[in-house]
Amino acid sequence: MKPYFEKMTDFGRELKEGQIKRAQENVELVKKTENEIAAAVEKAKNAGFPTEKINARGQMTVWQRLEYLVDPGTWCPLHTLFNPMDNEIGTTNVFDGLAKISGKWAVVIGFDNKYIAGAWIPGQAENVLRATDLAKRLNVPLVWLVNCSGVKLDEQEKFYANRRGSGTTFFRHAELELSGIPVLAGIYGTNPAGGGYQGISPTILFAHKDCNIAVGGGGILSGMSPKGHFDKEGAEQLIEAAKKFKVEPPGSVKIHYDETGFFRYVFDEEKGVLDGLKEYMKDMPSYNPKFFRVAEPKEPKFSSDDIYRLIPMNQKQVYSFDDVLARLVDGSEQMEFRPDYGPEVYTGLCKVDGYLVGCIGNRQGFLAKGYPEYADYSGFGGKLYRQGLVKMNEFVTLCGRDRVPIIWFQDTSGIDVGDIAEKAELLGLGQSLIYSIQQTDVPMMLFVLRKGTAAAHYIMGGPTANRHNAFTLGTAATEIYVMHGETAAVATYSRRLVKEKETGKPLDPVIESMNKLAKQYHDNSRPIYCARYGLVDEVVPMNEMRKYMAAFAGAAYQNPRSICPQHQMLLPRSIKG
């Protein structure tokens, strides 16, 4: 298929001098927001005890372990700011991401041993489920750095039980294993109760000599004969028992290496555990990249720094999506699908790191005169009309047929509304797109470049497509809400305004409420908010978007569950005509 893929059609334009000059203010705005996000990330990473204190105990921190474990330059963090239950510490006490270990992509996740020895805390189970789901979607190994002191007891009611509670992880591990996806675990420290299952549920266990895993820890064993109250005599007994179990906690290496053999390997040094994981990762199932690559990897012709000038923070300003995409894909080359149809969306085949991906994105600005063809009003990019919806349905379906992973780029204000749009079947075509996505069974990722709004945020491969969307990324310009705050204020208060006016009451209190609601929408849609509550899986600098695309493509093609031979693909033929 060389004629199709080796050299595709060039696209994208150089920035003009005037454009560079005019966009300087935008560059500064984007960088200011990115700096705020970076500061929040740094704070999350430094949660808990300082590194020196952990090192003084002879332990490495989770970050030192991760740095030693993953191949340099491949770490793509996810969920760093995720904290949906508003923990004071600012994190869910685990950190995860996509990275290569010994040249193979894996989902890597570790407990933060700097905070209450890596305990379960509120929101963590949801974070872990995102990591296990990601491994499943991409069919890549899950690698754990277990160091989990069990439940944070004074908040257990928030996460211990429930359908998606902390124990769900262990079922997910079993689900991954049943799907042929290995779960490797390096185990450190004391891991009682929930921590014990964190340790035992993976496929192969690499233990540090001082670690233990157990059904219950010393703390429980010390206090397992309740009298209905506490007294001095009981307290003295507890002190003795606690001292004993501190010296020799249950489930140590002596038991689980020498007796049960649960620990496959034991290492004297912390780094030895990581070396063991690295060694195993060399043998994980994976295709040589040449099996799936359609061309040699190439950098885009244009600098990704240009994106800082191309995507305006001002939501009213339009930009060329094609120019953004040209800064992200190999050689700034593409094969556009149906270029003369549905101008509000781009659909096309591109290459990332030599792998074929389908790209879909909202175009911006005024569309051609007479479009949409069913209406007597003008169409603007960002909105979806009949042709765009039909085109995306077709493209997604063909990507599924050809087993091509999809990268979505949203900057959408929604689907066209009103009776004219209803007559044009937009409601049905939106749901058709959901059906089309669901039946593809190919991995997808999403960038919310600016706006993710209304049902368009769902149907364009949004995180609600959670069997397909591997992860969703935001930028400094991201905002996600059901509708713009001012629109919401109008929808909520317009009747009340009419009523107050008719009854001669003052309008000021209503206007104040409208402004309050609009501000609430603004505050609760910013990138850090979106990352904190999981509306996006990470907010990434604009010049690192391609790095995540390459990680996604590399992982998706590492060991796919199904294959379409390149010479049997239909989509490139359909584009060529």
Partner: protein, 71 residues
Amino acid sequence: MAEKILAPLAGKVFKVYISVGSKVEEDDEAIIIEAMKMETPVFAPCSGTVKEVKVKEGDTIEEDDVLAVIE
């Protein structure tokens, strides 16, 4: 030969980046129109010198109005 910059849609002139006598390159952003809550740039159709600018910021315009002339 003179070429006209036409308004692609009705709206309000939000910004005028060109002035009489200034040089422009083809596809340079010349004027921005505000309509439907969006700022829509209008580009120079050719390279040349601006001979005439027929609108100023704040003007209301109709589709196909001549905004400027380039020579």
